[in-house]
C-alpha cells in the first residue's frame, strides 16, 4: 500500500490555488480586522426541501446544510478533492482498498467526538437514503479499522472514486451514529460544521448559530472551497425565504437583508454604483443546454438535429435568457479547467447559418412536422431561452410550438419517449463536478437526456470512469466532446452566471457554490 499521489499533488497544488483563493478571501482582512459577533441575514428564493444534508440535491438546501455539516472529502476552490474530516487516504496497489484515517478531536454539535463508528453509520445511511447513493456503489464494504480509521473495500478499481465521493451535490455528510437509523428528514440535524441548527419555519426562515466547539482544520491557513480552516465570526445567521425577486432586492436595499443569493441583472446594474451594495459575479455557474429527443420525429433524424445545431444563434439565446450574464462556450467543460477539450466542436457553434440549416432540413426530408419545445414556467432562464429558440427554429422553417408547463410536469413529460422534441435546461452542479457528472447524464446506464442511448458514447463513458490517469481521462473526454458534436443530441447554448449581492458592511464574503457563512464578519 502506498500513499496516493493524487491527494499529495492536490495538497501541493493547493499551495498556489489555495493561496490565491485565500488572498482573495482575506483581502479585505488586510485592512479590516475581523469582528466577532453579529447576526447576518441571507435571502434565497426557495425553501430548502430538507435540512437532512444527505437526502436532497437541492441548491436551496445546500446553501444552508453546507454550513452545518461536513464531509470526509470535498472540493477545494480549484475544484480538486481535498480531505476535510479525513486526514487523507491511501489506496492499495490493486485499487481495491482505501484506508481513510480520520481527524481526531472533531466534535459534533451535540458535544460528542466524531469516531469511525459515526463515519461508518453515516455512510451506511447514505447508501439507504442518500439522494446520490450511487456515489458509494463502487464500495463493497466499509470496515472500521481503528477508532479513527475506516477502510473501504471496493467492488472493482475505480480511479475516479474520490472525485465522485467528494461531490457536494447531495453530500455524504457525517452525522452522529445515533441518527443512523433515522428516516429521511428525521435526524437531529446535528453535524460537525461551524454553525449549528436553531430553528426552521418553512416559507419563512432557517436560523443557525455559531458552534463554539467547532474543530478547525489546522492543515490550512484559511478556508478553501468546501474545506480548509474555517472561522465562524458571526454569532447567528438567518436564511430567509423570499420568493419574490423584487421583494428580495427591496429587503437588501432597506438593509433588512445582508446577502442575496442572486440578484436580477437589471437590479444589479441599477445598484452597481451604490456605495451600500457590493456585487459578486459567480461566473460560470451553469451550462445552458437545449436537449433534443432522438426518439421522436422529426428530431429522430440526425440531419434535422444537425440543422438545429448549425442554424442556432447561441449568443442571442444566452443574452436574453441570462439577462446578459453569460459567456459563449461550445465546450462540455468550463474553459481552463482540467478536462477542457479545447476547440473540438467549435466549428458547429453559434453559427446562426439559416441557409445551411434549411439545406440540411431538405436533405433530411423534413416536411413541416410539428416540433414541440418543452419548457417550464418556474425557471426564467428555461422559458426565456425557449422563446428565443422557438423564433430561431421558425426562421429555419421548422414548425415549432412551445409547450410551457410547470417544473414537475416538464420533468414528467421529458421522461416520455414522444410528445416533445426539445427541452431547455440549466445544468448547474454537473459541470462543476467535472466530466464524469456531465457525461453520466448523457450515457447509459442512466436514460440519456436525449432518450436514445448512443453505444459509442456509452463505451467512452465507461472508458472515462475507468481511466487510470488524468491524462487518459482527458484524452477520453476529448473523444466524448467530439462524439457529442457528431450525434447532436444536445445543444450547448453557453455558460450562464449568477450575481450575488451583499451590503457593504459584510466583509470577507466571496462568490462560491454555496454561501460560506464562516470567514465573513460585519463591520460597524
Amino acid at each position: 500500500m502506498k500513499p496516493h499521489r493524487t491527494i499529495a499533488r492536490a495538497v501541493r497544488g493547493l499551495g498556489v490555488a489555495g493561496a490565491l483563493a485565500l488572498t482573495a478571501a482575506l483581502a479585505p482582512g488586510l485592512v479590516d480586522a475581523q469582528t466577532r459577533g453579529g447576526h447576518v441575514i441571507f435571502a434565497q428564493g426557495s425553501n430548502p426541501p430538507s435540512l437532512d444534508g444527505m437526502v436532497t440535491s437541492s441548491q436551496a438546501s445546500r446553501n444552508i446544510t453546507m454550513n452545518m455539516y461536513e464531509t470526509l472529502f470535498g472540493f477545494s476552490e480549484a475544484i480538486v478533492p481535498i480531505p476535510i474530516l479525513a486526514e487523507g487516504y491511501t489506496v492499495s496497489d490493486d485499487g481495491m482498498t482505501y484506508v481513510i484515517p480520520l481527524r481526531k478531536g472533531v466534535m459534533f454539535h451535540n458535544g460528542k467526538e466524531m469516531t469511525a463508528r459515526d463515519v461508518k453509520a453515516s455512510l451506511e445511511r447514505y447508501r439507504r437514503v442518500g439522494a446520490t447513493a450511487n456515489l458509494l456503489s463502487p464500495v463493497r464494504e466499509i470496515e472500521i479499522t481503528g477508532e479513527y480509521e475506516v477502510t473501504f473495500h471496493m467492488v472493482a478499481p475505480a480511479p475516479t472514486f474520490i472525485e465522485s465521493f467528494a461531490s457536494p451535490r447531495a453530500p455524504a455528510v457525517i452525522i452522529p451514529e445515533d441518527d443512523a437509523d433515522a428516516d429521511p428528514g428525521k435526524t437531529s440535524l446535528v453535524g460537525t460544521g461551524p454553525f449549528k441548527f436553531v430553528d426552521y419555519v418553512p416559507d419563512s426562515h432557517v436560523t443557525l448559530e455559531r458552534f463554539d466547539g467547532y474543530s478547525q482544520d489546522g492543515r490550512h491557513d484559511g478556508p478553501d472551497g468546501f474545506g480548509g480552516r474555517k472561522t465562524a465570526w458571526i454569532d447567528r445567521v438567518t436564511f430567509r425565504v423570499i420568493t419574490e425577486a423584487g421583494a428580495r432586492v427591496a429587503a437588501l436595499e432597506a438593509g433588512e437583508v445582508h446577502i442575496l443569493e442572486a440578484i436580477p441583472m437589471p437590479a444589479a446594474r441599477r445598484l452597481a454604483s451604490s456605495p451600500d451594495i457590493t456585487l459578486f459575479e459567480n461566473m460560470p455557474w451553469a451550462f445552458s443546454v437545449f436537449i433534443l429527443n432522438a426518439a421522436a420525429p422529426p428530431t429522430d433524424n440526425l440531419k434535422v438535429r444537425e440543422a438545429i445545431q448549425v442554424g442556432m444563434n447561441m449568443e442571442e439565446v444566452m443574452a436574453i435568457s441570462s439577462e446578459g450574464l453569460y459567456q459563449l462556450n461550445h465546450r462540455w467543460q468550463y474553459p481552463g479547467t482540467t478536462y477542457d477539450p479545447g476547440e473540438i466542436g467549435a466549428e458547429y457553434y453559434n453559427l446562426g447559418d439559416i441557409d445551411r440549416a434549411k439545406a440540411l432540413l431538405r436533405e433530411a426530408g423534413y416536411n413541416g412536422e410539428e416540433f414541440v419545445l418543452l419548457t417550464d414556467s418556474n425557471i426564467p432562464q428555461h422559458n426565456k431561452a425557449a422563446v428565443v429558440i422557438a423564433e430561431q427554429l421558425k426562421a429555419m422553417g421548422i414548425n415549432a410550438r412551445i409547450n410551457m408547463v410547470d417544473w414537475p410536469t416538464a420533468l414528467n413529460l421529458r421522461l416520455q419517449d414522444s410528445g416533445w422534441n426539445g427541452w431547455t435546461l440549466q445544468m448547474g452542479i454537473e459541470p462543476y463536478l467535472g466530466p464524469v457528472a456531465v457525461t453520466a447524464t448523457l450515457a447509459s446506464p442512466a436514460r440519456p437526456h436525449f432518450v436514445v442511448p448512443d453505444p459509442t458514447l456509452d463505451a467512452l463513458y465507461q472508458a472515462l470512469i475507468s481511466g487510470p490517469t488524468v491524462e487518459a481521462r482527458q484524452a477520453t473526454f476529448r473523444k466524448i466532446q467530439q462524439r457529442l458534436y457528431e450525434i447532436f443530441g444536445i445543444v450547448k447554448l453557453g455558460d450562464s452566471g449568477i450575481m450575488a449581492a451583499a451590503r457593504s458592511n459584510v466583509k470577507g464574503y466571496t462568490a462560491f457554490r454555496f454561501p460560506r457563512m464562516h470567514d465573513i464578519w460585519l463591520e460597524g
Binding site: S50, S204, E244, A247, A250, A254, W407
Partner: protein, 315 residues
C-alpha cells in the same frame, strides 16, 4: 337560534365533501407527481417508480381515496411528503398568519370602504362623491402584487418606516407583529375597499331617500345620528353580504400577498405544495380554507339577524 346554527353546520357537510372530492380529483388529474421533485433532473423512470412505490403513489386511485377519507373521518389530514410532518400540524401552524392578514384586511377594507361609501352617498353628485368613486375605482383596478411592491419600495426602502416583508408572531412581539402586517393588510384591503365603498354608496343612497330618514331629519335629529344609527343600520344587509363574499376573496388573495411580503401563511404553503405536487398538503390546506370560508358565511348569516330583527324573528 340553536336549531338554526345546527342546520347551518349540517348544511356545511355536503359543501365540504364536494370541496374534498374536487380537490382530490383535480390533484390526481394534474400531470406529474412528487417523485419528479424528489428525484431531480437526472432521475430515471425506474428511480421515479421506486419513489412512487415508497410513497404509495402507485396504488389505484380508489384505494388512495379510501385511505384519505378513512383518515379524514378520524381527523387526520394526512402526512406531507416534503415537509415530513402531519398536514394538520403544518396548516394550523400557518393559519394564524393567513387569518391575521385576512382579518386585518377585512377590517381595513370594511372601515375604509364603508366610510368612503357613506361620504359619497351623503355628498351625492358633488366633487366629494366623484372623488370617492375615483378612489374606489383605483382600488378596484390596481393589481395587488404591483401595489404591494410599490408600497415596499415607498415605506420599506425609501422611507424605512416599515419592514419590507417577513412575519413576527403576535405572541413574540405585538408591535413587531403590527409593523409586519400593516403593508400586507393595506395592500390586500385596497381592492376590496373599492367593492365595499361602491356597495355602501348605492345602499345608502336607497336608504337616505326613504321617508323615515326624512322624518328623522324633520324631527331635528343630529345628522350623525340619522346617518349612522338609522340609515346605515338599514343599509347594512347588502354590505354584510358583500363583506361575507369578500372574506373568501381575501383568503384567496392572501396567496399573492403572502408571496410578495414573504409571509409564511396557508396560501404560500398550498402554492408551494401545488408546485411540488405535495398532494396531501394541497388537499388538507384547501379543506381547512373551505372550513374557514363556511364558518365566515355562518357568521354572516347570524349578523343578518342582528342588523335586521325581521330576519331574526323569521327564524
Amino acid at each position: 337560534m340553536i336549531r338554526f346554527l345546527l342546520a347551518r353546520l349540517l348544511s356545511a357537510v355536503p359543501v365540504l365533501f364536494v370541496v374534498s372530492v374536487v380537490t382530490f380529483g383535480l390533484m390526481w388529474l394534474v400531470p406529474g407527481d412528487i417523485s419528479a421533485e424528489l428525484g431531480g433532473t437526472d432521475a430515471t423512470a425506474a428511480d421515479l417508480e421506486a419513489i412512487r412505490q415508497r410513497l404509495g403513489l402507485d396504488r389505484p386511485l380508489w384505494e388512495r381515496a379510501l385511505a384519505w377519507y378513512g383518515a379524514l373521518l378520524q381527523g387526520d389530514l394526512g402526512y406531507s411528503y416534503l415537509l415530513n410532518r402531519p398536514v394538520a400540524e403544518a396548516v394550523f401552524e400557518r393559519l394564524p398568519v393567513t387569518l391575521s392578514l385576512a382579518g386585518l384586511s377585512l377590517l381595513l377594507a370594511t372601515v375604509m370602504g364603508v366610510l368612503l361609501g357613506i361620504l359619497a352617498a351623503v355628498r351625492h353628485n358633488t366633487w366629494v362623491d366623484r372623488g370617492a368613486t375615483v378612489v374606489a375605482l383605483i382600488g378596484l383596478s390596481t393589481p395587488d402584487f404591483w401595489f404591494g411592491i410599490v408600497l415596499i419600495i415607498l415605506f420599506g426602502v425609501w422611507l424605512g418606516w416599515l419592514p419590507t416583508g417577513g412575519f413576527v408572531p403576535l405572541s413574540e412581539d405585538p408591535v413587531g407583529w403590527a409593523r409586519s402586517m400593516v403593508l400586507p393588510a393595506f395592500t390586500l384591503a385596497l381592492t376590496q375597499m373599492g367593492v365595499i365603498a361602491r356597495m355602501t354608496r348605492s345602499s345608502m343612497l336607497d336608504v337616505l331617500g326613504q321617508d323615515y330618514v326624512r322624518t328623522a331629519r324633520a324631527k331635528g335629529m343630529r345628522r350623525g345620528t340619522v346617518i349612522f344609527r338609522h340609515a346605515l343600520r338599514n343599509a347594512m344587509i347588502p354590505i354584510v353580504t358583500v363583506v361575507g363574499v369578500i372574506t373568501g376573496v381575501l383568503l384567496s388573495g392572501a396567496v399573492v400577498i403572502e408571496q410578495v411580503y414573504s409571509l409564511p401563511g396557508v396560501g404560500r404553503l398550498i402554492i408551494g405544495a401545488i408546485q411540488r405536487r405535495d398532494f396531501p398538503v394541497v388537499q388538507g390546506g384547501l379543506l381547512v380554507t373551505a372550513c374557514v370560508f363556511v364558518f365566515v358565511n355562518i357568521v354572516v348569516d347570524l349578523l343578518y339577524g342582528w342588523f335586521d330583527p325581521r330576519v331574526r324573528d323569521a327564524r
